[in-house]
Amino acid sequence: MVMELPKPVRILLVPLVLVAPELVLMILAARTARGRALVGRFGGIALLAFAVAFPFIEQALGLGLMNPMLRIMTSVMLASGLNIVVGFAGLLDLGYVAFWAIGAYCVGWLASGHFSEVRVHVMSGMLHAIPGVHLSIWLIFPIAAVVTALFGVLLGAPTLRLRGDYLAIVTLGFGEIIPNIFRNGDDIGGHNLTNGTAGISGLDAPNMGGASVDQALGLGWGTWSPLNLIPWYYLALALCMLCWYVSITMQWSKLGRAWMAIREDETAASAMGIHCVNAKLWAYGIGASLGGMAGVYHGARIGSIFPSSFMFYISISVLCMVIIGGMGNVYGAIVGAFVIEGLNFWLLPSLTTWGNAVGLNIDFSSWNMLIFGVLLVVMMLYRPQGFISSKSRKLEFHDEQLPRDRDAHPHPVFGTGLPSHGTSRVEPEPVSEPEPEPAPIAARVTAPPVVPPTAAPAIAEPELPHGRFRRFGPGSNPFERGPEGAPA
């Protein structure tokens, strides 16, 4: 019955029936603290379940969304990689396409018959007699990640002293140099390195050990060919999740905070002991390696690599995704990729097709740059922080564990910055007791009598019962903690 509906209607069914109720539930749930916790816990799982089920839904409804989806997912990887460089570390990189290209050429060199004078097979599952370098794609991913990370550091190193506009110009240069090397690399000292504009074609299908992946895992996905997209979809999903995981994990780590500190104020960051050069190189390296893995995926899926596909405008559109989505926010990069590539590979072609069906003879796809431009201008005017602002950070530490404001007898001027006095320090009783009502505001405000600060060390603090979180008082030092955060 569903299949009788026209395709546009069927496509609309997906968000209406499957996504909209979920969104409405989430929005409703987000109105209470408990609901927010539930959304935080199960929202991701629901989204993942939808992502896993997507190929089957798509197939059942016959939407033809698979190809655009794979392009979108490639861009999600690229955007989250660039988000590390631009969003986290604040290094404007206009040549990000270079790392995509290097990743793609890695798979081109390591999984094809391009170097036909040698015969190297590692877990390729192919006849050993076939010439060329044939590595399993599962080996190429880590290799390409390392290679592109090295190139990221290599290209990043000369730009370390540059800031702002100058940095952008230099990276722009790199973004042009690398694809041009690939374009003209068919005769480097007599060696045909890249096969010039013809590119490298006939890439191996991914294998696992001797068997193809679906045989090994018994999934019944069929072969990995450019025509059978389901296995590629799951590979892309896994890679996207890897990019998301790396971004999220790095963001709230020592290095991620160092990146953001450099973005905010490099001088202050260095005064805090951050080695800015190293931190920036890590950002270039990690960002580049994610782009490189996206390149491996893209090259392997298309099955051939052409230098003409690594154009400058790709750097720009990936940058647009990061900016429109929300710089410095991982989810923003994902949303940005969906918006831009969804427009590019699904909405505009579909509009053209539908227009043709009703007699409109307009090629909307050729308008994409115009539409991006307008979108960017409108976004910068009305929502410059992007769809998902990096400011809307959810605090990850557990607020509910901390008795707030109970021990906080804020001095009207300096809070607890004044020498504290045992009298006003209300320690929460064990759980069984009903909570004592906090002292009236007036009492708390007037409580700390003004004592000359020089007398501070002399004030004897009554012995505190040691809770999970120690109170701060004279003679106690936040740095002196025993193991497991217990007071020393």
Binding site: T249, D399, N477
Partner: protein, 273 residues
């Protein structure tokens, strides 16, 4: 509990000999000898443009001194990079507040803790228990430090959204987070009302007595300087013109002249307002 005796009192944590900084033809700091004795609160004062902040910037490595010698914690730090000096245990605040404005307060303090955290790439990426414990403890210490300076109820706010006085306090918390041996406070009382300035005085004593952290202060607010300092150094036109106990410096004719100009008439002590 207290760690006031991390360094024996009055050992010289930092020694500067004939430190000079020239910008082209201008000598901003001219052969200044300076020491920071452990466990003390010492101040650096002088009229506007006397070279105080330049001197600070040389000590912390932001400027490469033109000439002189600089020793910190027994190591030659002349011309070292700021991050490497910070790793030795020197930490600072800035005259014009330089917080990481688009990061939360807790994250600001955690950045200050940078030199103390291990945070290796592999433990981080694999979220090993050691990494998670370190992060958790870091957040607890950050919260304690924010409580120490009195802004704990604001941990989740973006630093840029804090009121001015709280930003100054957050900067102090951030500077203390690396558990420095010496903390350099560059005009912490600027823009504060008398009440806040008074509370700041208490805070500085607590920094020294409870955290065992030596304090070097640049300040224009004379009342604060005179009551909190155990030694005052006066710069004028890049030269050290006086050094000693607050009351001695206050009565020093050269200092009075520097602040008020030479007049043979009334002698007014620079006690400020």
């Amino acid at each position: 509990m207290s760690d006031a005796h991390r360094h024996p009192q009055d050992t010289e944590l930092l020694t500067a000999k004939a430190l000079t900084m020239r910008f082209g033809g201008l000598t901003a700091v001219d052969t200044v000898d300076f020491t920071i004795p452990a466990g003390r609160i010492v101040s650096l004062i002088g009229p506007n443009g006397a070279g105080k902040t330049t001197f600070f910037n040389m000590l912390t490595g932001l400027y490469h001194p033109t000439e002189g010698e600089l020793t910190f914690m027994g190591k030659d730090t002349f011309g070292r990079a700021p991050h490497s000096i910070a790793q030795l245990g020197m930490s600072r605040t800035f005259q014009n507040i330089r917080l990481f404005r688009e990061m939360t307060c807790v994250d600001n303090v955690l950045v200050g803790m940078h030199t103390r955290l291990k945070g290796g790439l592999i433990p981080t990426l694999l979220r090993l228990p050691s990494h998670r414990r370190e992060e958790r403890e870091g957040i607890e210490i950050a919260r304690d430090l924010m409580r120490f300076v009195g802004i704990h109820e604001r941990h989740a706010e973006l630093a840029g959204n804090l009121p001015y006085g709280d930003q100054r306090r957050l900067e102090i918390a951030r500077a203390l987070a690396s558990r420095p041996s010496v903390v350099l406070l560059d005009e912490p009382a600027a823009g504060m009302n008398p009440q806040e300035t008074y509370a700041l005085e208490g805070l500085m004593h607590r920094i020294r007595d409870e955290l065992g952290c030596t304090v070097l202060l640049i300040e224009h607010e004379m009342k604060l300087v005179m009551s909190v300092s155990e030694r005052v150094t006066v710069l004028n036109f890049g030269k050290k013109i006086a050094e000693g106990l607050p009351q001695d410096v206050r009565d020093n004719p050269a200092v009075i002249e520097a602040y008020l100009g030479s007049s043979d008439g009334a002698v007014v002590a620079p006690t400020g307002t």
